[in-house]
């Protein structure tokens, strides 16, 4: 993966982010989706991600161990190159002969969907070449679940997708040297499947000859074999034919208890039917008003847990029909399980408000007091359009955020087709890096997620706009209500202020339904406070119904960097600044729009000394004087340039080069020479792929060194040349005038966003929510350009570097006596050593270094230590 072509300086590595894996979430016939598991001592919780396996300590709520796929050759082959996913995690080495040797306290067995078995140790350093076995499966067959009995017999359950129904097979799995499979039983036409929490009983809902049957099957013996038609259950209810719609008959989830005595079925209408298996008598539990998405019995069979669109988990005491609730969960409950002998409940939530991606969150609840013990999720980006493999849960009503009984199969196909055919494949996302804390900010519908790249954890999640979703789940027709959406987030250079841009949607079917409200909000944060506080809200900042197309933070030289520039789609510009006397953000400057010309191709750049603003609108580039806020008037230079097509992104580099990316070309415009010095052909990669203005998300510039990173996404063709829905991407790293390529890296997934981390690296996010870094571990040598920047910096900031150095010098010198010989020597020595040797080293010197210790490579660490001590 590291293929630096020119210099070895820059490297690409995927080290962070990812999303929790719910392997069976794509299998709509499976009711048990979560595969996270507790360790045997019930102190740790093992969560599989799509790029790593993380072990969380339940006590401290912290991640105590990560097994990163990219860092191990074997794992990276399986999971990165072959794109396998984890299907099941079992504690201990299941391949060992007897259960005594399984070492449950340090090893785990990972089954992948394509039939691989990998033994990993989760304590201590990960072994270099873990044991890897391959089970041979049929074409299209995927591993669904592996059942393990106490005497170490293994049964493998596989599933195979046909058009509507699934085919399940149970194999006996024997592992001596090579894994041996022998087919035991096949279940055709399965609509739903579930198994008891002790892995002993399987239940299937099958469709045969237009009749639906329920089949119960004990896995390791023949103690339970039962088959009865679903209609018999309905019959026992004496349901009147009038109230039976499709929704009330469509089973959306199922659960069976440990003993195989009770079976619970949830329907799309929200009703739960609990059936006593022995006499097929059922009773109805009614509370949910939209599809029941998850059901489970507690271990003792006395409680039933149910969850759905309401974002409320309901506990039914089966003996009394009493109900208890735990409301206000973060997402729609798509899976619930009781783990650790009823000590914990493990829930899988999906934040369905984001329809462009399946945002899963795993939640571990303490069963005794229902307090949350662990919340696990990855970065939550909102992509421009739905990425592949995005699944929305089933609802009674068809909306953007849900699928229904009837649209389910259709929509899946449609989506696949769209991914294959359509040329406009914009899966970019909006994100921002806080300049001080270096945390990543992802706008997530009405909220913002703060993700720490280095700690590899979400650090906070805050709602920035009020919507229905913030406190409760939406059901049925409420799903059509559109909550406000945060579209952009930016920070001032000092990191003290955040500006967000959001759009509010009026209710549907009104005259005003199309009149969107655009809000610009300014937030600040107290020191040590995790939440941002709203200070100023501007409704329709550019006029009614006019969107903001770009927000740009002011350079440090303007108003102490407390300023923002906003642009609209009519070439209007406004400058907002925090005014001390008003204690508020004010509109301080504006330039009027051209009311007849609309374009979303708007880009902005601002010179570091604050004097000039570069405003690209459609295919024109204007240079504005910030003082007058009008087009820069100068007698000898042109202030307006025409490009060959709409400008998609501009970046000002080192105050001399302006990088202008249009739909067809990438140009370097030398401002001092007044001409284009270098241009590249972008047309094959960019034209028509991204929405206007979104290419900006794939170009980033290191403002300290002027190094530019550009992402090119390309569709991958199959071996036989047919286009597939898969992508690869390339990151090109250029020097400041694009004359040299410092590196070119390939990444096997579509990259949605890249940004400079206000240090030496670029951080990127792919459509699998994985975070990677393109960076140098060693500082670039001090070239002339770099030094020039230095000069500029200390003159700009008003911080008089020279004066302070002088002061330091004069105060350190002894005040009496001549500069003696030895003193002179000392001075000379001081010069050789650099002037930093006054720096004190104490126990706190290295703490900042240890903050993000996990992902650090050896040479980085060395570099950091050197930076502290020199």
């Amino acid at each position: 993966m590291n293929q630096a072509t020119v210099y070895q300086k820059y490297k690409l590595s995927v080290v962070s982010g990812g999303k929790p894996v719910l392997p069976r979430s794509a299998n709509k016939s499976s009711c048990n989706k979560g595969i996270a598991c507790l360790t045997h001592d019930e102190l740790n919780y093992i969560v599989p991600f799509n790029n790593q396996i993380k072990v969380y300590s339940i006590k401290t709520r912290q991640c105590v161990k990560t097994l990163k796929f990219a860092n191990n050759q074997c794992l990276s082959e399986v999971f990165v190159s072959d794109q396998a996913t984890i299907a099941q995690i079992s504690l201990g080495d299941v391949t060992s002969e007897n259960s005594a040797q399984r070492q449950e306290d340090r090893e785990l067995t990972v089954f992948t969907n394509d039939g691989r078995i990998i033994i990993l140790n989760y304590k201590g350093k990960l072994v270099d070449s873990p044991k890897l076995l391959q089970v041979k499966l049929d074409q299209g067959e995927t591993v669904c679940k592996v059942f393990i009995s106490d005497d170490n017999t293994l049964k493998l359950l596989t599933s195979k997708d046909s058009v509507v129904e699934y085919t399940y097979r149970i194999y006996d799995l024997k592992i001596q040297d090579e894994p041996q499979l022998s087919l035991e039983e096949t279940f055709d036409n399965v609509i739903l499947s579930t198994w008891s929490s002790n892995d002993r009983i399987l239940a299937f809902l099958q469709k045969k000859d237009n009749k639906r049957n329920i089949q119960l099957h004990s896995i390791f013996d023949d103690s339970l074999r039962k088959n009865f038609p679903l209609s018999s259950v309905f019959a026992s209810q004496n349901q009147s034919s009038s109230s039976s719609s499709t929704n009330s008959k469509y089973v959306t989830s199922m659960a069976i208890d440990r003993m195989g005595e009770q079976l619970a079925m949830g329907f799309a209408s929200g009703v739960i039917n609990v059936i006593t298996v022995s006499d097929l008598q059922g009773r109805l539990l009614k509370w949910h008003i939209d599809s029941v998405l998850s059901l489970c019995f507690t271990e003792d069979g006395s409680y039933l847990l149910s969850g759905g669109w309401e974002k409320v988990i309901s506990f039914w005491q089966l003996s009394t029909n009493m109900q208890q609730f735990l409301p206000r969960l973060n997402g729609v409950i798509i899976d619930c399980q009781s783990v650790g002998y009823d000590k914990y409940y493990s829930l899988a939530l999906q934040m369905t408000e984001n329809s462009t991606n399946s945002d899963f969150q795993l939640l571990l609840l303490n069963a005794a007091d229902l307090t949350s013990k662990l919340v696990v999720n990855g970065p939550l980006p909102v992509f421009d359009s739905a990425v592949k493999n995005t699944i929305q849960p089933i609802s009674a009503v068809a909306t953007k955020a849900s699928t229904t009984v009837t649209t389910m199969n259709l929509s899946k196909k449609k989506q696949k087709k769209k991914h294959l055919k359509s040329k406009r494949q914009d899966y970019t996302t909006c994100a921002s890096i806080h300049p001080v804390t270096k945390q990543l900010y992802f706008p997530h519908m009405s909220a913002i997620q703060v993700y720490d790249f280095y700690k590899n954890e979400q650090s906070s999640y805050q709602y920035l706009a009020s919507g229905v979703n913030n406190s409760m789940g939406k059901v049925r027709f409420e799903l059509n209500i559109k909550d406000p959406v945060i579209l952009d987030v930016k920070f001032t250079r000092d990191g003290k202020w955040m500006a967000t841009y959001e759009v509010e949607y009026p209710a549907d079917d009104l005259l005003c339904s199309k009149d969107l409200v655009h809000n610009l909000k300014f937030w600040d944060k107290e020191e040590n406070d995790s939440q941002w506080n709203l200070r100023t809200k501007v409704v329709n900042p550019h006029g009614v119904g006019i969107p903001i197309t770009k927000i740009l933070a002011a350079p440090t030289t303007i108003n102490g960097s407390q300023g923002f520039l906003t642009a609209d789609n009519e070439a209007g510009l406004k400058y907002w600044s925090y005014e001390e006397y008003e204690k508020n953000w004010c509109l301080t400057k504006l330039s009027l729009p051209n009311f007849n010309h609309f374009s979303n191709s708007v880009s902005l750049a601002w010179s570091q000394d604050g004097s000039l603003i570069f405003h690209a609108f459609d295919e024109k580039l204007f240079i504005l004087d910030f003082d007058t806020f009008r087009i820069f008037e100068s007698n000898n230079t042109t202030n307006e340039f025409n490009l060959d097509s709409e400008v998609q992104a501009i970046q000002l580099i080192n105050n001399t080069n302006l990088i202008v990316a249009t739909r067809t070309t990438l140009n370097v415009f030398n401002l001092l020479k007044g001409g284009i010095t270098n241009s590249f052909d972008l047309h094959p990669y960019v034209n028509g792929v991204y929405k206007n203005g979104h290419l900006d998300r794939l170009i980033s510039c290191d403002e300290k060194t002027g190094i530019v990173a550009l992402v090119i996404n390309q569709k991958v063709k199959d071996e036989d040349g047919t286009p597939s829905a898969d992508y690869k991407s390339r990151v090109v790293v250029f020097d400041n005038d694009l004359s040299n390529k410092l590196g070119c890296f390939t990444h096997p997934e579509y990259i949605s966003w890249i940004g400079w981390n206000h240090d030496t690296d670029f951080i990127f996010l792919d459509t699998e929510c994985r975070l990677g870094v393109v960076g140098t571990t060693v500082n670039t040598e001090m070239s002339d350009e770099v030094n020039k920047e230095g000069i500029l910096d200390d003159l700009q900031n008003g911080t008089n570097d020279f004066a302070s150095q002088l002061q330091k010098l004069s105060s350190t010198k002894s005040t009496n006596g001549h500069a003696k010989e030895d003193e002179e020597e000392e001075i000379a020595l001081e010069f050789i050593n650099g002037e930093k040797n006054h720096k004190l080293i104490n126990m706190n010197s290295f703490t900042s270094m240890l903050d993000n210790f996990q992902n650090v490579q050896m040479d980085t660490l060395f570099d950091r230590v050197m930076r502290v001590i020199t």
Binding site: T5, G675, Q805, E835
Partner: protein, 649 residues
């Protein structure tokens, strides 16, 4: 905006050989350090003549002068004010005898200093730098032999320090914060230099009034061939045509800039003027340079002089006051006229240093790069596992020079011109498409358009149609393009629809004179799209009144179908025109007609809005009836839904 004024003469120097020889003249003229951007008095020690004080405003004139013997050379000179008293201190050298002289005068008194009042003391060696501290009543003298001596105003030696290096050649006193500092550069053998930085703490005579802060030996630093100047923490060293910038206090090299404009000049001088900006003279040209951006902010040639050298500049320290700092200052220099026996004079040049920001430097860079500016589109990936091999993405490369030469040979014949143009540039369509993106050399495009416009009059080749659709149609070809193409309706329309950068003024005048409804629509669209309302209003104001009236007539009297369809744009333009010229500029008759016309339109609008409401009402009542009727309504066939979203006037 940064600028340099024409120089004006302060005084003519005496006709002495040493003062007219531009190789040495700057050494013989010592300007006192006390000048600031706002100062009106300049004191100059003129060797072999006098120490003279001049005022600049209102007219430059000599106000005071202390004559010195004609054998004496002024080696240093400084002036400071102390308690209503001005202290002049200057160092003289006559042969091997070096003296330090102090004269005092009551401030504002014009009656001058008596040369008898001048105190004099002999010093060991040539004084390289003199600094008068008025506040602490001290004079600091740096001697060439490496002694730093402190005197009071009665020239009593207070303290002496040996820096232990001889041959001190450059000294500079400066203030940073509240403290005074001094640095010296001493030449050492083998092109080495010792840099020493001292802090002066003058009132403390009990203790040592000076302490050394740093001492650094720099190699490959020949003081004899370098010109040195200092400002705000940076030491600038001009050697050959390269400026090296050192950062104090450690005197580290931070930047090296090649100045192409001083190359080949006989007389070069350099002085700082403001942060990051320096003045450089080369013969009789004076440049204001920004060394951060490497740009020539302003340049001026002083044609009446043969050479001009800078003596002293009043530096603006832009770090001190950041909010709208003063940008005006001046510099004093010595100019030598042309001719065999030239005279020299002291000249003042006023300087506006600008803001020091990018906006001053835009397009003025002087860096010479070895790489030729290439206008060729390069492929992003050279390695090419580039699977994009389909027609759309094929990479093309043109030799624009060759094609141009080829075209030039065929400028007589339209058909061959077209054939070559289309074939060589591989143009498939008559208009620009993205396949033609490789034709992006602006110079080439400009040349070809010029070639076409120069050689073809009656009929134009098809190439022009193509070029008019090209988004990079050269800006310099657009003026007067419309009037040229007026006789060719197709090209005219093409230009209006696709050609970028058409001047607003021409568009407006075309619009106001045209009678064709379709074209007027196109032009009005174009104007409204390309220019903001402000620009349009401004431009309309400049236009002929008759034209404006014609336009109004045209709009209100047109019954043309097309014009009505395009009325939206035309109305918008009409309102802009009325806004900019004002209603009262129109004559009564036209005003009446305009009022009638507007009335008519308003009536139509009202009627339409009523109709719209009517429809709305009707729909509402139906909906109401339906819900009221209950189940009866549901059996009836649903009323087809329709809405009126938009009614045309």
């Amino acid at each position: 905006m940064p600028s340099l004024s024409q120089s004006f003469k302060l005084a003519v120097l005496p006709r002495v050989a040493s003062l007219s020889n531009f190789a040495f003249q700057t050494n013989f003229l010592q300007v006192a350090d006390d000048i600031e951007p706002t100062s009106n008095r300049i004191t100059i020690g003129i060797s072999e003549s006098a120490i003279s004080q001049y005022v600049l405003n209102p007219t430059p004139k000599l106000v005071l002068s202390i004559p010195i013997p004609s054998t004496n050379i002024v080696t240093a000179c400084d002036v400071a004010r102390s308690d209503e008293q001005e202290i002049w201190c200057y160092a003289l050298q006559a042969g091997k005898v070096c003296t330090l002289n102090v004269a005092s005068k009551v401030s504002h008194a014009e009656n001058g200093v008596n040369s008898d009042d001048v105190l004099k003391v002999k010093v060991d060696d040539q004084a390289v730098g003199v600094h008068v501290n008025g506040k602490d009543k001290t004079i600091v003298v740096v001697l060439k032999n490496g002694l730093i001596q402190f005197y009071d105003f009665q020239l009593k030696l207070l303290h002496s320090l040996d820096v232990s290096y001889s041959d001190v050649s450059v000294t500079k006193f400066f203030t940073e914060g509240a403290n005074d500092f001094l640095f010296i550069l001493c030449s050492l053998p083998e092109d080495k230099v010792c840099f020493k930085l001292f802090e002066l703490s003058l009132p403390n005579y009990n203790q040592v009034p000076i302490k050394e802060l740093s001492s650094i030996i720099l190699e490959d630093f020949s003081l004899a061939t370098s010109k040195i100047c200092y400002q705000s923490g940076r030491l600038y060293r001009l050697i050959g045509h390269e400026v090296l910038v050192y950062a104090l206090p450690q005197c580290q090299l931070v930047q090296a800039v090649t100045l192409p404009m001083v190359q080949g000049a006989d007389v070069i001088s350099m002085k700082p003027i403001s942060s990051n900006r320096i003045l450089v003279t080369a013969d009789n040209k004076i440049y204001l340079l920004n060394l951060t951006h490497n740009s020539i902010l302003f340049q001026r040639e002083l044609t009446h002089l043969k050479s001009f050298q800078l003596l002293k500049s009043a530096v603006i320290d832009s770090r001190v006051s950041s909010s709208l700092p003063n940008q005006k200052t001046f510099v004093i220099g010595v100019g030598t006229k042309h001719g065999k026996n030239p005279t020299s004079s002291l000249e003042i040049v006023n300087v506006d240093v600008g803001t020091g920001t990018l906006k001053d430097s835009l397009g003025k860079g002087f860096t010479v790069s070895n790489e030729p500016i290439s206008q060729v589109l390069k492929p992003l990936f050279s390695d090419e596992d580039n699977e994009a091999e389909d027609e759309d993405n094929k990479f093309e490369h043109f030799d624009f020079n060759q094609i141009y030469q080829h075209l030039e040979k065929n400028k007589q014949s339209i058909s061959s011109f077209d054939r070559i143009f289309l074939r060589e540039l591989n143009i498939k369509r008559e208009h620009y498409t993205e396949l033609d993106r490789f034709i992006c050399d602006r110079q080439f495009l400009s040349n070809v358009v010029h070639l076409i416009l120069q050689n073809f009059q009656e009929e134009y080749p098809k190439a022009l149609t193509f070029l008019l659709t090209h988004p990079l149609f050269p800006v310099d070809c657009t003026p007067k393009l419309l009037s040229r193409l007026r006789e060719h309706p197709r090209l005219f329309k093409q230009a209006i629809v696709t050609c970028p950068n058409l001047p607003l003024q021409e568009l407006l005048s075309e619009l106001f004179s045209i009678e064709n409804g379709e074209l007027s629509l196109d032009i009005s669209l174009r104007i409204l799209q390309d220019y903001t309302t402000d620009m349009i209003k401004q431009e309309v104001r400049k236009l002929n009144k008759i034209d404006v009236q014609n336009f109004i007539e045209f709009v209100i009297s047109s019954n043309d179908e097309n014009a009505i369809r395009s009325s939206h744009q035309l109305f918008q333009l009409l309102s802009l025109v009325l806004d900019s010229i004002g209603l009262f500029a129109l004559d009564g008759v036209l005003l009446d007609r305009l009022a009638d016309y507007i009335q008519e339109r308003v009536a139509i609008a009202e009627r339409n809005s009523k109709l719209c409401h009517l429809l709305d009402d009707k729909q509402n009542s139906r909906g109401f009836a339906k819900s009221g009727a209950g189940s009866v309504g549901s059996t009836r066939e649903a009323v087809p839904k329709y809405t009126v979203e938009y009614l045309d006037l």
